[in-house]
Symmetry: C3
Subunit: 477 residues, 3 copies
């Protein structure tokens, strides 16, 4: 994942992500130099707030840090026939008892070649070398020595989450939190005066009537909101109350996922009837889909009222591997994208709120064929719509290039929301933002070299996409 | 939108659209030099013939020329929250009374940064610098001075439409005209002996039974054709008569649009029944869609008889923003593409006429995922099928590269129809053709440099795609 | 299709498929030098085994070799209005009597410009220059002289199929053979001790209940298997017996095609009922589709038992041109791709066998929008799934680049199956593998230059993708 330096040590190439053409590379460096050290704005991700609310939190072993919780990493090992059990991945019953973390690390190291040319490989190389000072490329032979090294580092106070938060120069980090979350960690962060770790309101577990444990989720929502939820109306009130609470705790946005971004406003009484059937456990066939379609619009409506920015992620078929899901639960690398249609599906929402200056709706998709066909034209017309950065599998060097090439000519860079890392791997945050800053710098250098923009424009666009657009989109200014 | 020259003046880079690699750039220049000054063949577009039939026609103010009629321009301003009213865009009731064109220009100038890296930005820069000699990049500070300059220029006879037509070296320009149009402007052009402005037969308003004002459109068609249209048979006869009239007025092609290119031949009596229901205002649910599916085949049939080239544009969901449509009408930047299927949908048409040497059917789409999957294989097999150039949003530097890379390996360049500008902005015509000539020259240079073709081939292909293929495809030779 | 050498002779550029940037080109050469001469592993294709089983087999005339049997070639001529009859393409009734092969060659030569920039053009140039020593670019003027030259060459023993097999350095070649094939040629090859020409089991003609002549195919299957096929159970037994026989004759894999890769397990009695209806010629509407959906799973089940690797090719609408099909039959250049959905469609198969370490399922598609969206995520998760190389139209320079860029970041190179040429044109085999080796070498050079992998990784990946991955995937080690 790197060019060896002259000393033979493992190190990332200072030219990484830049074209080999010397004219282009030089200009990419010039642009990159102006954004490389900007503070990190991380408006959407899945880092646990507990890592930061507890001053004594630590990352655990190297396997705890790099492998066990990260489905980006272990899915590739799994795809080559390595069992999740051998990688210490917890089942639904809980963590693997007595897992041998050195053995897990050994398997990982022996299969590190699988990550050649992948974004995960690039991030891991950056983390190991830049954050932890590893100077040999990981392999089966040096696995244990590198494990020793990492273990020593992780024991140092400079490698605590809070210390790294500072070292990483993170200006603001937003977590993702269930609607029924008490936000205890966020409360204690704020009690300490730490206001740059913010929650995000995620209602999926209660608005998707087919979510696992939906009834329990509703009970929990009732409990934390103080509303008895026995009707659609009280459900809506409870959601509004929670949004207000999240906002008080620093949230500036919401987030929700849909397989399919279909939207349709239901008449009040229809919504009520479906909700009551859900409470009684007697859903009819289309109930959940239609309720979701309605609730996406309702979330937009609430956003126009309370000013929370709305994020919508569509197109992931979750838990495709049923056997694995039964044993291990969600987020095990078995979420597979599907085709998505936006133009027809968002019609109802956009006709109700797309022209409303109070709404910011940020769209994320995994179906890249919609970039130029649907997403860019929608963002290039509706005042409310912005496009989120390349998501998940497409948060990669090529994925970014495809996004930039397919989106910006039609939507304009100024209808995008900059970058977000969307990570659950805290230590990968700087690596991910760095790839974005490098790829966009190189892309802007290309536009300058092709005579399509001038350098002054490029330098502003670099600042915008690395820093300002995310702050503006997420109302973090 | 340019590299500044050494004197600090705003000017387009002479290297624009070419790769930065010096070997590649040099060869691209060499190829481009052979096509740069070829006459412009513009076989499809939306310029008003009135601009050219009236020798005294003028463009109006700078806002009239660049902003008010061009949805490519104002949609981006709208997407950032600027009202169409503040841009002088006419509503259905008519032009904005007393619109302050200097104020409109000021808003445009202050937001000119939105166009960075967009094709519209590139064309505007070319028009302002090359056509009008503006030498400072437009911004809020210099907006009024540039307005003054443009106003002075536009008052000169050298900036009349006819003078620019000559200056632009346009060999032939085809307009787009409703089936019921009297072609009064085309008649007077021909009366003057001007035969290189030609009409194109566009029957959408009468073959789409759900078109706004369909009954009135039919009445108008009856009037101009001299047929009483009281049956499907007389409707067909009227269309045929109009096609003959258009042909007499110089037309060599027809054009029609469909959300979905589904084709199906209806039995005569079925077509008759649907048409009668339409006349009576009593359409059944699928009537309009099935009639359209049938009429696409009928248009192909007529083309085999009268030799008019058939164009089919598919995949735009028109007037997606219903509120805006109600107030402002069509073509307001709110047309959003959708997924399109060609293979199944064109089956019936192609099985009837795809092997017919008399038919030329030029296909245009907005769903780029169909380039390599459906369109190139269809064009690479059926004698009747050609592919039109990248359409609308994809008439851009990257859009052209994607098209060339995804289409030509399978279809061969020789199953494409060269370039057309499809513009309603007359002054943008040279800029648009220039981008095509530059991008294709650079692309051909790439093929030579990669050893995939030799220079002799490249030079011929450049002539072909810049000039000859359009003439051949549209039977303008 | 080449840069002329300084002597003015037609020759392929030694830099073909490499970027013009000198740094990149140099590194591409360095990588390519390590794989250029590796033996060819050709695990999937359509070469007739008769070419190799008969020591005296010859290729016939230049038209027999290059034009008449190759729909890649004549479809482009057809698309420009040249009749298949004038190209000597046999109809269903048999070969064209008294076809003038010199005239066919003349037409081909005069239209050779159509292949500019196409993969077929690149292969033809490689075959003509590298294999047959033609040193002038083919055109109408030199057509007959080149025909003479080729005729002389083809008469030499060095140009027999067996001699070229050796010269081409083919380590192993797999053919594709109907389930009911007696494998007579393979038997005689093995009798001679030739074990590197292997059959592949292709059951399409018997598992697709709507296949042309299905009943006859079943009779033939019964005959060769020795089973009376009067029930679903005997049908399955016959298939299993044939698979065992193919395996004995050297097969390591199966292959099947589906318009749509939908999979669904039918209960035994349901499958039985459908099969009986098929035997009686009384299929109901969905019978064939559901039986196919079931049989795809059954083929996977059999693979887990007998270890044959399973290939699935989806997404080609066969014989789109009904008139041509009626006269000429299958494989006439009229197969047009359609959209394909993999995520939902393979759900049932993958949930039954996707985690089974005994299964290798290699997927091939023509809908490139599924590369990054569905295929790479599936291969990057399920242990059983590998991705086949770019198929058919996409077996081209740009098609390979798109594949590599869109697949490998998510799936990892190590979940792909290397290259296969899939050709029926034996003489094109080295040209096709060479394009792959060049394009991947250049792509790997790009990753190194962009600092995403180091040279050591690149060199290993080059060996892997040119040679080792195909052997591993197809169990040819």
């Amino acid at each position: 994942m790197s060019a060896k330096t002259q000393t033979g040590k493992w190190a990332l190439s200072p030219d990484r992500c830049f074209d080999a053409n010397p004219v282009q590379r030089k200009l990419a460096h010039r642009i990159y130099a102006t954004v490389q050290d900007l503070p990190i704005v991380s408006p959407h991700g899945h880092v646990s707030p507990a890592l930061l609310s507890d001053p004594n939190a630590r990352f655990g072993s190297p396997a705890d840090l790099f492998i066990i919780p990260d489905h980006y990493v272990y899915r590739l090992l799994y795809s080559r026939g390595i069992n999740l059990a051998d990688l210490g991945v917890p089942t639904r019953k809980g963590p693997v008892e007595g897992a041998d973390h050195r053995k897990i690390w050994q398997v990982f190291a022996e299969n590190f070649y699988l990550f050649r040319g992948t974004p995960t490989g690039l991030w891991l190389a950056d983390e190991l070398t830049s954050v932890f000072g590893v100077d040999e490329k990981l392999n089966g032979a040096n696995a244990q020595a590198i494990y020793d090294h990492l273990e020593r580092q992780l024991a140092q106070p400079e490698f605590s989450p809070r210390a790294l938060f500072k070292r990483f120069n993170i200006e603001v980090l937003c977590t993702t939190d269930a609607a029924s979350d008490t936000l205890a960690e966020h409360k204690s962060l704020r009690a300490e005066g730490i206001t740059n770790v913010r929650p995000t309101f995620r209602p999926d577990a209660v608005i998707n009537l087919e979510a696992e444990n939906w009834s329990k989720n509703i009970e929990k929502l009732a409990e934390v909101s103080g509303y008895e939820i026995d009707s659609y109306a009280t459900f809506i009130r409870a959601l509004q109350e929670r949004r207000a609470f999240f906002k008080m705790m620093g949230a500036t946005s919401t987030d929700q996922a849909a397989l399919d971004p279909y939207t349709e406003r239901l008449p009040e009484d229809k919504a009520e009837k479906i909700f009551i059937r859900a409470l009684r456990g007697k859903l009819k066939e289309d109930d959940a889909a239609r309720f979701m379609a309605h609730m996406i619009i309702e979330m937009a409506r609430m956003s126009t009222e309370d000013g929370l920015v709305m994020q919508l992620h569509a197109g992931s078929f979750r838990n495709h591997n049923a056997g694995l899901f039964a044993e291990y639960g969600t987020d095990k690398g078995a979420d597979i994208p599907v085709q998505v249609e936006w133009t027809h599906n968002l019609y109802n929402l956009l006709n109700e709120f797309g022209n409303d200056p109070r709404l910011t709706l940020i769209l994320f998709g995994l179906d890249e064929s919609t970039y130029s066909r649907e997403l860019a034209p929608l963002a290039g017309h509706y005042p409310a719509v912005l496009l989120g950065p390349p998501w998940w599998f497409h948060d990669s060097v090529n994925g970014m290039v495809r996004y930039l090439d397919q989106v910006t000519e039609t939507a304009s860079l100024y209808n995008t929301s900059g970058f977000n890392d969307d990570t659950r791997a805290f230590v990968s945050i700087p690596a991910r933002h760095d790839v974005w800053r490098r790829v966009t710098s190189n892309w802007l250098a290309g536009l300058v070299n092709k005579g399509l923009i001038d350098l002054a424009d490029a330098l502003e666009m670099a600042q915008d996409t690395s820093y300002r657009l995310a702050k503006r989109a997420y109302r973090l200014e």
